[in-house]
């Protein structure tokens, strides 16, 4: 069975041969470990896929990973202070509520980048202004949501033209231990958006994958209702037992292993963490995938330990 076939079997609860494992290396991490990182990547093809030695420019930072200031297609101004990590929106094109009326989403195809729905709202309005909108619920809140949603629906349609098997989306919906807005408000304003977007994908036979940072336990049910196939949640912010309670068996979980601890743990603690994750979340029919992201402060020895444990537990039965 190929890695790809096995991946879809896990997502579709169709008895994968092993637990799919993968990892992402931040550009800043590549730039720090260079050839040593390359060796690790070559050693673990189940995690990193096919990789050709010398194919990576260690110092290449693309898009918002570059240092400096840039404006995106929505008019949001990004600033990056730590090249190789992401930047942040420092200029919001709609600082005043009235601005929403004349606002038009990009006419060109600007894709569905990370932060495509909820975060886009605050990139446009500014975080505090958006929160006040959620508190006061003026008509402009719904108008803005509808505008972003209509762009997203069009963009999804374009994406679906190629009949992809899966669409990968990312939007950070949570904080460390709570949601920014009350779940009732989330269900009132945001759930209908995800429901419409996900339904479009499902109708086209495309699976839906959503990454979200932060604590999202209270809305996982809603996301499942909306038609989500794969969720990529943070362990630390949600807790393994909680994830088992609300999501296990109901939606495939591509577990974002606890990167807030990667720099500090010993290899033994890393192994115990991954062991616990598979013990609590795996099912013979599938529905569990494991994922690790390496920020540049994770010692190389820990990166290797994570890969070693992923390799070990992917055959957990």
């Amino acid at each position: 069975m190929t890695i790809e076939e096995n991946y879809y079997r896990a997502i579709e609860f169709n008895y994968p041969k092993w637990i799919p494992v993968s990892a992402s290396i931040m550009p800043a991490t590549w730039s720090k470990y260079r050839e040593a990182m390359e060796e690790v990547v070559l050693e673990y093809p189940f995690i990193f896929g096919d990789f050709e030695k010398g194919s990576r420019d260690f110092d290449e930072f693309e898009g918002t990973y570059q240092e400096g200031v840039q404006t995106d297609a929505w008019g949001c101004v990004w600033k990056n202070v730590a090249p190789g990590l992401d930047g942040v929106v420092v200029g919001n094109p709609l600082p005043n509520r009235e601005d929403v009326h004349s606002f038009e989403p990009p006419k060109e195809h600007a894709g569905l980048p990370h932060g495509f729905m909820f975060m886009r709202l605050y990139y446009l309005r500014g975080f505090e202004e958006l929160m006040i909108d959620f508190a006061e619920e003026p008509p402009e809140l719904q108008i803005l949501i509808d505008k972003v949603l209509s762009y997203n629906l069009q963009e999804i349609e374009v994406f679906l033209e190629t009949k992809p098997r899966i669409i990968i989306l990312g939007d950070d919906l949570g904080n460390q231990d709570w949601l920014p807005i009350h779940p009732d408000k989330w269900n009132k304003y945001l759930k209908p958006c995800y429901a419409r977007m996900f339904a479009k994908c499902r109708q086209a036979g495309t699976l839906v994958y959503l990454h979200s940072d932060g604590h999202i336990l209270e809305i996982i049910d809603s996301l499942i209702d909306c038609g989500l196939d794969v969720l990529n949640p943070q362990v630390g912010a949600n807790g393994l037992d909680n994830l088992a309670r609300v999501a296990k068996g109901k939606v495939a979980i591509n577990l974002d292993l606890d990167r807030q601890n990667f720099p500090f743990w010993t290899p033994e603690q890393i192994d115990a963490h991954i062991h616990e994750a598979v013990e609590k979340l795996s099912l013979p029919e599938g529905g569990l995938l494991l994922f690790a992201e390496f920020e540049p402060d994770v010692p190389l020895a820990n990166i290797k330990a994570i890969c070693e444990s992923l390799e070990k537990y992917r055959n957990y039965a």
Binding site: V81, A82, L85, M131, A135, W178, H182, Q260, E295
Partner: protein, 211 residues
């Protein structure tokens, strides 16, 4: 009129205009700015903090209350200055070098301001030298450091070391916070306190300045 409960209710429910109106009425009735602040506005913000800690208030409700409180504070501020009423303490707050997460830091600043502190916002990606400069310039009593990334937690230690090496460590209390930060880490790097969230940061800052 001595009962501040209506004013407090207006703050808590985020009624900006009513807060401004009621504040002015209290002034007209002969209350001093300090009495209104201590009796009405600050206790209201304490209740907001409790509701936030209890999971009853989320960020929208908290910010709305803070804006309503500011409507009252704007009226009182010139009067407080005139009568030389000092803030509880001065706090310089910022996100450390290499880190641009500012949402949490801003909420902490808002809660502190609403609780009677003067807050100097140092912004994000703030170097240790900049923290020292701002604290020194303003005569800050407390310095608040925020970090949301494990990669930037060491910059908290660097900042504390900078105060140390400039001979200014004993002049300020340093409190830290942010998603990956823990009480233990605060102890390890020699910070004076760790704040879990914006509500908790207020109590912490008060305890650090002996309030």
């Amino acid at each position: 009129m001595d009962d501040y409960s209506e004013l407090q209710k207006c703050v808590i429910t985020g009624k900006k205009l009513e807060v401004a109106e009621t504040t002015s009425q209290f002034l007209d009735s002969g209350k001093t700015a300090k009495e209104i602040l201590d009796g009405g506005l600050i206790p209201a913000m304490a209740i907001v903090g409790q509701k936030f800690e209890a999971g009853e208030f989320f960020i929208p409700e908290m910010l709305l209350a803070a804006r309503a409180l500011n409507a009252g504070l704007d009226i009182l501020k010139p009067l407080l200055e005139e009568s030389d009423v000092k803030p509880l303490a001065k706090v310089v707050i910022g996100t450390v070098k290499g880190d641009i997460h500012d949402i949490g830091k801003n909420l902490v600043g808002i809660m502190l301001r609403g609780s009677g502190f003067e807050v100097i916002d140092a912004g994000v990606d703030v170097s240790p030298a900049k923290f020292v400069e701002l604290a020194n310039e303003s005569g800050a009593d407390v310095v608040g450091l925020s970090a949301l990334l494990t990669t930037t937690m060491p910059a908290m230690k660097d900042t504390i070391d900078e105060f140390e090496s400039m001979g200014l460590r004993s002049k300020v209390k340093i409190m830290i916070g942010g998603a990956p930060v823990t009480e233990d880490y605060a102890k390890t790097i020699g910070a004076d306190g760790f704040g879990r969230n914006a509500a908790n940061a207020v109590g912490l800052a008060k305890s650090l300045v002996g309030g």
